[in-house]
Symmetry: C2
Subunit: 315 residues, 2 copies
């Protein structure tokens, strides 16, 4: 019987499930709304339902489920699979996710941080394929990161490594939610795109976006304006690329990785920021490791997390 | 027969040799001048002489030499032990150091980058003892770095990882020899201490160092002035600590290592920079990994490189 795993990507909005075979093919999918505001018990129930549905699919199609992998936003205690805390899942404090799923299904379970799962997915089946070392950066509401060295996730002493979004790219920069100032996340996230644009608009900078009021502007609108040649919008994406380039040059000089993979929603604006990003890397990183390092857009989108989580069991 | 290794620390000025046992004790030492300007062949001859002397000592004292480890400044090709290039050893281009020593002595040989050897030494017998993950930063003429993760050196795809000195700590900062601007090395090396002080003096800043002319000032003089309460000198060391703190906060957020060990000549000025360094780490790094990470002065000094190199063979 062909071996498969269930990969679960637990997000603030959606729970995504995939039945993944050893070759990294997603044989079946399922999606449920997270409805995190209903609290951990309800969410755990939905996670169980999604897994159960795919296990049923597996047995109907003659596959043997080897185990379940789950990616969760937040701080994971890796030795026992407890979710210590999740900024995106209200009330998740010391939730014993691994033992819960294990009890429900009697199968091996691996719990991983979602950014690490994303990186593992891209490394296994996406833009990172073939690389033994890579950093995966996800640009969304915030900036996430996963570091893979020697083919394995580097989690650090407390499972908190990979916080690429909180590299200081400008020590005198704006305050970040983390308490630092000038974090990458303050320049190169979708949130930062909106804020940088809005700040310029409030200063009276000319732009086709001038009619947007605070709270109504989105990064997609800035993206669209930039593609129509709006100079302010173009400038904002260039700045986002520049600061991302500073952080990536740091990563290259520190880790000499084979690839940097950039995913997440904002990676869709690739052409708007890759020029200034690459110019900054060329200026700042050593030539040999910079020449080695491929900087690539992620190719898996929402599937990266599912594949990475499943791969922890079935790969 | 008790097993020992010869550890060699190849520097721009000195060649240091040590006979090291499995417990990390240095049983005998030898030092020769490098005289790098005489070219690679002469230096190789002196390396051979130093090793031969310690092998003789070993056999006289009834020890079995298990092999030879050598730390070299520069870019090493790890698979064949060739020194591709060394900024501190004139004419060293594609020098087959490993096969040369192997041929001379018929013993196993390991060649390692000197900053990595230093980090391995501190991890084995120094301030990093007990840590499975650490970053070792050496403050000297430049700023070097070695990264140990899971008990092993992380060398990167080209053996060029660990360039802590070339993290961008201020994107608008002064030009660095590497081509970048605002590298850590421009703020927190002995060279930078001198330059920052001299720049302030040339601007007419009041200081007990005012009589120093460009080219005569040393970081030791600035250190001494700071300890005597010279406000400019105090400020310069505080700034060096601040920028080092920015880089260390990046390392903590990225790698969540157990320890950061700071060695090299300038680490002797510890009390002059540790306050501003720790303040910056507290401001900029996440609380859990920052709380985990011990920031400590190296304890081995010039022995770190010898021990790290020998440990690659005998540990």
């Amino acid at each position: 019987m062909a071996k498969v795993a269930v990969g679960v990507d637990i997000g603030g909005t959606n729970l995504r499930f995939g039945l993944v075979d050893e070759s990294g093919k997603i044989l079946a999918r399922k999606r449920l709304l997270t409805k995190g505001q209903e609290g951990p018990e309800k969410v755990l129930g939905r996670i169980r339902d999604g897994i159960a549905a795919l296990i049923k699919t597996a047995s109907e199609s003659g596959h043997k489920v080897a185990g379940i992998g789950a990616g969760v936003p937040g701080i994971i205690s890796h030795k026992d699979g407890v979710v210590r805390f999740s900024p995106n899942l209200p009330g998740w404090k010391d939730v014993a996710l691994k033992s819960y799923i294990q009890r429900e299904f009697g199968l091996p379970v691996v719990v991983e941080n979602d950014a690490n799962a994303y990186a593992l997915g891209e490394a296994w089946q996406g833009a990172g394929r073939g690389a033994r070392s890579l950093v995966c950066i996800t640009l969304g509401t915030g900036v996430g990161g996963g570091i893979i060295l020697g083919g394995k996730v580097w989690r650090g002493a407390d499972g908190m490594a990979g916080e690429v979004g909180h590299i200081t790219v400008n020590p005198a920069g704006p305050k970040c939610g983390c308490g630092n100032t000038g974090c990458l996340e303050r320049y190169s996230s979708a949130t930062a795109i909106v804020e940088m644009t809005m700040n310029a608009l409030l200063k009276g900078k000319a732009s086709s976006l001038a009619n947007f009021k605070p709270g109504t502007l989105t990064s997609e609108a800035v993206d669209k304006a930039a593609r129509s040649g709006d100079r302010l919008a173009v400038r904002v994406y260039k700045d986002a690329g520049k600061y991302l380039g500073i952080a990536i040059a740091d990563l290259i000089n520190l880790l000499n990785v084979e690839k940097v993979v950039i995913g997440g929603g904002m990676a869709g604006a690739w052409e708007l920021f890759i020029g200034s990003l690459e110019a900054e890397v060329a200026r700042r990183a050593f030539a040999i490791p910079a020449g080695r390092c491929g900087i690539l857009p992620g190719t898996l989108g929402d599937d990266a997390g599912i594949l990475g989580a499943a791969g922890l069991v079935v790969k």
